[in-house]
Symmetry: C2
Subunit: 904 residues, 2 copies
Amino acid sequence: MSQEQNQDHKWVYLFEEGSGDDKELLGGKGAGLAEMTRAGLPVPPGFVVTTEACNAFYANNKQFPEGMWEQVVEGLRKLEETTGKGFGSADNPLLVSVRSGAALSMPGMMDTVLNLGLNDTTVQGLAKQTNDLRFALDAYRRFASLFGEIVIGVAHEKFERVMDRFKAQTDGGRDTDLKPEQLRDIIAAEKQIIIAEQRGNTIPEDPYEQLRVAIAAVFNSWMGRRAVDYRRVNRIADTLGTAVNVQVMVFGNMGATSGTGVAFTRNPSTGQKALYGEYLLNAQGEDVVAGIRTPNPISQMREELPEVYDQFASIAQLLERHYRDMQDVEFTIERGHLWMLQTRTAKRTGAAAVRIAVDMYHEGLIDRATAVRRVTPEQLDQLLHPTVDPKAQTVVLATGLPASPGAAQGQVVFDPDEAEEMARDGAKVILVRQETSPDDFHGMVAAQAIVTARGGMTSHAAVVARGMGKSCVCGANMLNVDYGQQQASVNGTIVTKGEWITVDGSTGRVFLGQVPTVQPTLGPDFKELMSWADDFRRLRVRANADTPNDSKVAREFGAEGIGLCRTEHMFFGEGRLAAMREMILADGVGAREKALEKLLPLQQKDFTGIFQAMRGLPVTIRLLDPPLHEFLPNIEELMNELSDLKMALPRANTIQEMDRLLDQIDEKRRLLHQVERIRENNPMLGHRGCRLGLIYPEVTRMQVRAIFEATCQVKGEGSDVRPEIMVPLVSVAEELHHQSKLIHEVAKQVMGEHGMTIDYTVGTMIELPRAALTADKIAEYADFFSFGTNDLTQTTFGLSRDDSGRFLSKYVEDKILPDDPFQVLDRDGVGQLVKTGTTLGRSVKPDLKVGICGEHGGEPQSIAFCHEIGLDYISCSPFRVPVARLAAAQAALAEKSGAIAADK
Amino acid sequence: MSQEQNQDHKWVYLFEEGSGDDKELLGGKGAGLAEMTRAGLPVPPGFVVTTEACNAFYANNKQFPEGMWEQVVEGLRKLEETTGKGFGSADNPLLVSVRSGAALSMPGMMDTVLNLGLNDTTVQGLAKQTNDLRFALDAYRRFASLFGEIVIGVAHEKFERVMDRFKAQTDGGRDTDLKPEQLRDIIAAEKQIIIAEQRGNTIPEDPYEQLRVAIAAVFNSWMGRRAVDYRRVNRIADTLGTAVNVQVMVFGNMGATSGTGVAFTRNPSTGQKALYGEYLLNAQGEDVVAGIRTPNPISQMREELPEVYDQFASIAQLLERHYRDMQDVEFTIERGHLWMLQTRTAKRTGAAAVRIAVDMYHEGLIDRATAVRRVTPEQLDQLLHPTVDPKAQTVVLATGLPASPGAAQGQVVFDPDEAEEMARDGAKVILVRQETSPDDFHGMVAAQAIVTARGGMTSHAAVVARGMGKSCVCGANMLNVDYGQQQASVNGTIVTKGEWITVDGSTGRVFLGQVPTVQPTLGPDFKELMSWADDFRRLRVRANADTPNDSKVAREFGAEGIGLCRTEHMFFGEGRLAAMREMILADGVGAREKALEKLLPLQQKDFTGIFQAMRGLPVTIRLLDPPLHEFLPNIEELMNELSDLKMALPRANTIQEMDRLLDQIDEKRRLLHQVERIRENNPMLGHRGCRLGLIYPEVTRMQVRAIFEATCQVKGEGSDVRPEIMVPLVSVAEELHHQSKLIHEVAKQVMGEHGMTIDYTVGTMIELPRAALTADKIAEYADFFSFGTNDLTQTTFGLSRDDSGRFLSKYVEDKILPDDPFQVLDRDGVGQLVKTGTTLGRSVKPDLKVGICGEHGGEPQSIAFCHEIGLDYISCSPFRVPVARLAAAQAALAEKSGAIAADK
């Protein structure tokens, strides 16, 4: 904007000139005040200096843009007219408050300066006007300290110390006990402090100069460190700018018929429809915040000031009806006159969000689409997990990543075997590990929650915990885990095995001791809201579930099938790992088949349970995927064991003992060699997925036989079973061709043996870039695609989930990446491949069923993307199913946008 | 083809009806005979049953197609007419040879059956006709054993044993010493053997039936195991089919004026222009092959049969002129009459290929384009390395992958330190390892050649060896390497440290002892051919080189710059690894910078040397790329050392010794913890590449400073230096933005300090799918792209180079993949990304320089792809530069095809 244009530009809006739609221009607070003013509510008059002015200020080397100040003065003129008072008037002075207000509420911005306009002269006028010298001096004292602190930047404590010194001289020791002379001394002392700070500024005597400096201070606070930090973390553009609200002062501290308060139009914790809030008589807002006096519940106002209460209650209702959402309102009563100071959409808990959305629909305030849009996925997720009682006293031991929500208490245990053992004996345990691996799975199953010192939001611990709906805190770096000593420490605080801790996976905090938790309840509101969501969404929602129990949970949460059943998790169970190891270490096909025979009935049993739980719904079973050495003991542990055995050798007392040790050493060494032989440098890119089935077709055959035996059994029991067999890690169409031939062969055989015909499909995970790029060729052999976006993200970025924790957080912090791509699907890279794969696949098979089964299947932004590109379904952990249903509905609604409004 | 169509179809061509262009239809041999016949050369009359007939045979359940046999009989009729003989005639019998002949020469196909048409009756006629009973019986004997062996499938040895028995009864013990009665007995015995085999077939008496069975046998041999295997390995389609050549017999064994021979129109070893070959008087072809008598050099024929020799020499010249290429011809002389039996393009060594191509251009036979096309990249590569003397006697110890060409002798050593030590003492060593890692680098430098038991064509050993132009055999699975015993064994054959072996990296063979080798020489022919190639190619050719010495070699081989200088290899040198480890394990920026200060002058020195070697040419330097733990000691080794120290503890004799041990244990344990802390599960996808530079910007700063200090120094010496700084492993544009800002900052600083201005560019490796997919965004910060197709292949396929050896060979074998994608660029997947990346990059910067620096940069098929999609340059190991220059020229020629023919 050129200087000339600036001059004519409108930088200042009186409240009556603006409206609630002008949030970007006037900021949230200004727009709210304008809207209330237009609605005829009692709002102290005022005006807004726009966010444009703020931006122009920065564009103009921190000078007000041409014409702005003149418009501010003109605004003051209007306020003088309306109130009949004079800015700087010695008789009847006009006082104003100055507040920042961006379009989004934002900490770190300049707070309020009250009573601006007071100086040594006007304070006399105020005393005359109110006929209360003490009140006037108290107001001047408040102005001086606020201006000194907020505009000039003197530490709050310095002013407090002055107050404390003077209060100590009074009888009561309270603010209100201060006499006018004392207040005068306080004001003088405060001015001295400001001068002593030598920041070059003192409080100007000229009220206009006061205002000029205060407005500049608001603008400057926009680029203050805290505000900039906040915007960076929350990804808010710097160019948004802040507005400045200048408003005529009203006083809640003018006696027994004055007061101030804050209220919600409904209960923000429960959603109950009733005014909820607090107020204080004869007080200003800062007194409430400072906690000097304890405020009363708003309901009590009905007795104390019944008329004002009724007026307030009806205004609150009016505002809620006007905004069609719960409001958070601030008010002041000046000598019996109610003034509204702010209204905004109220924050609420997950439970409240659901109840309010459903209630408001039934009250006719909003339509179903709005109700569904009103609840955020995060709020819904909150609802599904226990939470730490917010009223509880807590001592935080460590903070990490909020990897899997929910709160849980338990006794610390460091060893998965011990965890299992203690849990078997009825103990509640929390497994604390440096990091977890599939070897720890049984310990994780046994634990109430998992804490790790290493690993990110998609580390093994996080993924498995989310899959089981268990609370988990990951990457608590400060936690020093010492397996040898069986203890964990943080800066000298030591937690030993058996001690109680409480984990809050929703916030990433780990507390010492047993902190009380609150259980979630899913009431009829929840069910009603979800049924509306289901009506709106187009995406089907399935669950990733590996056990009959997971399947049941998923179904209860509304899953429409299983999108990913990982067969490998089944192999970690008791008695299975041994057979699995036997299979892996087998010398040749014969020995391998023998070991597989042991696994067959176990697998079949698992599938039977899952099929029974999911009767009538499709179940996608993925064939064996991970590298084989995941099933083998850890090399370092083996080496340590070997070393221990060797150490024991010289201490052997008998020949027999020595023989026994030597045998053990031999055995251990053999195992070590076998494990070393199989070990890979980059197992993620190694001999896994369908590559296993291609080299060991007998493994595929066993798994497919187990699936079809189970299918025949459950179908024989009269249930509808719909198996979908998924081949993992295909990069070349021929791989799928090879495996699907095997599958059809075994299927035919088993169906023949049982004299049954089963409807089944064969598809593949698309989890490698090459698969997405050649999806047209792959589609020839596939009935369905399921994008495995975890691995696809790993390979597209060349980034290991397990290892990226070390630097990925810094990447997000420094804005190299907008999000952790393992949490939020990367649209530009991975998303492009998902889109390409879908398009290519459907170019060959228009009716190809396409879904996604990575962690992203439960993440709202990623779900929106899946909706946009037209996938058929998403699959996520059972506990994320409701969130996914909601997010899918919101994505569909966002697409239709206005078109749905008629549905109400 | 329907039956009716078949009937009218032409299945049989007389030689005079075909031409040299009909290779596909008539097979190579048939087309050659037809061409010679048309040219009026003396070719025994005959006809060809077409490859179409072979295919129809298989389509028709292994029955001759309708009409074919009738046409064969008709063909015989024509031969009878031409020769005046009768097929099956008791007086003047017509005898024919039956030979297979596909379009491509192929082992495993049915060999020749001679003298077909003989039976107990016609043999009398032949005796009469030739007036030589012995000759007739010998011909019958040959026919019987060939038919028995080749058509019926009796083992050759059985017939040989009969011959041996009878020859033992003669005085001389030679074939020619056998009397007619003995020959009769032999024939009877051979017939007995055939009947005893009970294959249901014996030699039919009816000549027509003999021919029918023989033709069917040729067709059947097309699907024989050896032929199918060969086609699979060489990727020849099964649908090609084989033709059958039926030709009138001529005899080289009818006395002193008869004979047979094979000759090349030039020397196939050296390319010298002179008839080269062998002949035998009074012999049939099989006698020469069987080595029963030693043939004479062709030049001797000039004395023995001067007229025939002259006729043959002029025909040979005619053929060469006709085909414009060196011919490999077979002939027979029957009683002074020369008959041409075959002509085909002759195989030749690399040296011969180059010389012949250049000579033929100068002789006006071919144009330059043809000359350049005539030499295969493999032939050129042969030329650049020593080879095992083909005349040497050898004992093969093991066979692996031909990972890096060339032959070398040396003493076996298993430890890289020892390799270095022995080499320092002047020994020639060959490093034999299970597999190699960067830790072994100094040992590889010291060795003549490298042998590994594990790892594929792109394993560390293979890549490094190719980079150094050292011979290497990889993945010799049968080799059992025992570091403890310092020996390697194969099926009981043990090679101990210090024993001599010879490695042939061109064939993948490892020989016992010192096998003589032949050194390559690059003569003026080579230079002339390469200069022509340079004129034709559009792709620039650079080298991957990390040292001044590599750079010099690359330049000598014609590299037009360095496309990839890997700075990390520099850190493995003496004294550097320690500083590097110090840097990695540094606690905080300060300590890290201190360690980096030690590395700075060393890096600078390396760059100075490289810049001096490459003066005037661009040098692309890649910043630090590999995961840091590559520079740290191996965890297992550390654990073993720790275990040894602990074991030594109880045996300590003095307090001092114990203290010393305890100190060492502490030290070792600390190091172990540090290494464990840095260790990654999937280092390939871990904290490496630019991710290092983002988290440790001081590392980037040090490297960039070293580059610019070196640049200023060399420029100060008056040389033109053109540094191109390449940021590795970018997946997000912001990464490059961040690093390039750093680079420009340091560059400006150093240039300022030296008061110099340097032309330099900043670019990036595109080696991750996401980089290729978002190349338009990345291009904003890049002056050039270099596709790192090694890593791009790994991530696109989700396939680790290091680990895929275990299954990738089976993939190629089973045709799941057409090639090892680490050897030949995968066009459909990886290639698509290279194309997409190039297109997107140039959409933003039309003049973006784009190259490739993976291993594929030296592989002809991949080079052709790079040419097709319009890359600017390829970069490969120094020793592949000539190959790349040639392949680039051939790709350009293939594109222009006919258009270039006028240039001759």
